[in-house]
């Protein structure tokens, strides 16, 4: 097997690789947060009951456009196509281009995830809130969304893991994230196997930490959620069993 351990160990913690991983994490976290914000606005727009359908149309269009085109196309568009469109008046450097494309793309997916979470909260909750005199917006903020979060977290965790890997696409616009750093080294040394193994290990490390954090977040939001009343004591459990079978 043509594997050079010396090369592997030399580059595993090489400064350019570490800096690349740092940029990957930075891009992922910032884009995911912005994506969640955009997604929230778009989701609320999508289910808006307002008499003016503008919000529904705008949100619908945004989601359709950014889910319907490849992320790579969006990245290249922001970096190369916008300057051409505006005759070099608007020229967006690598990292901002990456964040813009990644957030817009993520927002479209988050919108659907958040919408699913909202729909999962039983309609009775909104009715009850409204009958107590709350406005839709207050009800959404204080009653519906807090319950929706439980449903939103697992797919969002999924999205964040995807995001960590999607950032590798911005290598094409010369953003110096992890894959770019890897490519620079293998282009010069021709040691593809060692370098791509290094990159894979770094991505695995980051996604594993992300999964772990997702688990903690899920458990935090599990608190206070009661599945069904638990019967206490032997007699109570017998009664509960009888009632269920009956």
């Amino acid at each position: 097997m043509n594997f050079d351990p010396a090369i592997f160990w030399e580059y595993l913690f090489h400064p350019s690789i570490v800096r690349g991983a740092e940029l990957t994490i930075f891009l992922s976290v910032v884009s995911q947060l912005l994506g969640i914000l955009l997604g929230l606005v778009a989701a609320l727009g999508r289910i808006s009951h307002s008499r003016i359908p503008v919000f529904r149309w705008i949100s619908g269009f945004y989601i359709w456009l950014f889910r319907g085109t490849p992320l790579l196309v969006q990245i290249i568009f922001v970096y190369f196509a916008i300057p051409q469109l505006t005759n070099q008046r608007v020229v967006i450097p690598e990292v901002p281009s990456a964040i813009i494309a990644l957030s817009l793309n993520e927002g479209a997916y988050m919108a659907e995830i958040i919408r699913a979470g909202i729909l999962s909260v039983e309609g009775g909750q909104m009715e009850a809130a409204l009958s107590l005199g709350m406005t839709r917006w207050l009800a959404m903020r204080r009653i519906i969304l807090p319950q929706a979060i439980r449903i939103i977290i697992p797919p969002t965790g999924n999205e964040f893991i995807s995001m960590l890997k999607n950032t590798s696409l911005v290598a094409v616009i010369s953003a110096h994230e992890l894959l770019f750093a890897t490519q620079e080294i293998y282009s010069a040394t021709f040691r593809y196997f060692e370098l791509l193994t290094i990159a894979s290990l770094w991505y695995l490390a980051m996604t594993t930490v992300a999964s772990y954090l997702q688990g903690k977040l899920e458990r935090r939001f599990e608190r206070g959620f009661v599945r069904e009343p638990q019967a206490v004591g032997f007699f109570g459990r017998m009664m509960a069993g009888a009632l269920r079978r009956g």
Binding site: F80, P83, Q84, V91, E94, V172, S174, Q183, E184
Partner: protein, 284 residues
């Protein structure tokens, strides 16, 4: 460590040769014929596509190699030279395979093509991976917008500027070397495709773009009065070479002979002139 170029008579038996005549050491066509219809009976070479020379190239490099938008075919000086060489070797022609430059040597080693003709400089580092048959000289050009104040006759004059360049090239190696001595560091933006590096200059992401002279001349010509060379082109120090996998002495000899033939017949000069790169012809 530079792999030696010259060779002696031992014929390397081609691996897994399909049964016909084994190549005899120096039995190839002796004198190049002056006609353009050169066709020396080549010994059976093991090729990926029988009867054709399969050539890897990164077609983001006009006028040497690029994709013709109308036909989708790869065209350029390297393409015409490859076809001429193939015919001189007694083959039907050359099949071009597009492969991005920074992985092209690995692809050759994996057997994706027989040779690489992609304006590739013959450097000591690359000689550790492949063998070369040099076929053109190479110079480097530095391009800036017409209204730029930057003057540069070498990379030393580019300290402090933002520069775009293709990844895996001698330009990038040279820039990185020079940058180490720069008091004010250059910002280097590297791209997988040379055309993306060019676009970075056009979009205004960088101050300077650098590449091989034929390519810079082509881009300047295509965008009249918008861009200019920042100074005199300078030699890259190494020629363009056809890259051949190691241990393919048979292929190397066949190509060297074919190259002599097309140079003697005038076909070589005709092709270079057609693409406007006659200034890069081999001198000796």
């Amino acid at each position: 460590m530079i792999a030696c170029g010259g060779q002696q008579g031992g014929a390397t038996p081609t691996t897994g040769s399909t049964g016909t005549s084994s190549p005899s050491p120096s039995a190839q066509s002796p004198s190049p014929s002056p006609t353009t219809t050169a066709s020396s009976p080549a010994p059976q070479l093991k090729l990926i596509n029988d009867g054709y020379l399969t050539v890897g190239t990164d077609a983001s490099y006009p006028p040497m190699e690029s994709v013709d938008p109308k036909t989708g075919q790869i065209v350029g000086a390297d393409v015409d030279l490859a076809n001429a060489l193939a015919k001189a070797m007694g083959l039907k022609g050359a099949k071009m395979v597009n492969n991005s430059f920074d992985t092209i040597i690995a692809a050759l080693q994996r057997g994706k093509f027989d040779i690489i003709m992609s304006s590739m400089n013959d450097t000591p580092e690359r000689r550790q991976q492949v063998d070369f048959v040099d076929y053109m000289t190479a110079s480097i050009g530095i391009v800036v917008p017409s209204d730029s104040n930057i003057k540069a006759d070498s990379y030393k004059d580019l300290c402090g500027y933002t520069i775009s360049v293709q990844r895996g090239t001698v330009e990038l190696d040279e820039l990185q070397k020079v940058n180490e001595q720069c008091p004010k560091k250059m910002t280097l933006k590297t791209f997988t495709q040379d055309t993306d590096a060019w676009q970075a200059l056009v979009s205004g992401h960088v101050d300077v773009y650098t590449s091989d002279l034929p390519v810079t001349a082509f881009h300047i010509k295509e965008n009249p009065s918008k861009f200019k060379l920042a100074g005199e082109p300078f030699s890259a120090g190494q020629n363009y070479g056809i890259a051949i996998p190691k241990n393919r002495q048979d292929l190397k000899d066949a190509l060297a002979k074919a190259l002599e033939q097309i140079r003697a017949s005038g076909e070589y000069d005709r092709i270079l002139k057609k693409w406007g790169v006659e200034g890069a012809a081999l001198k000796e």
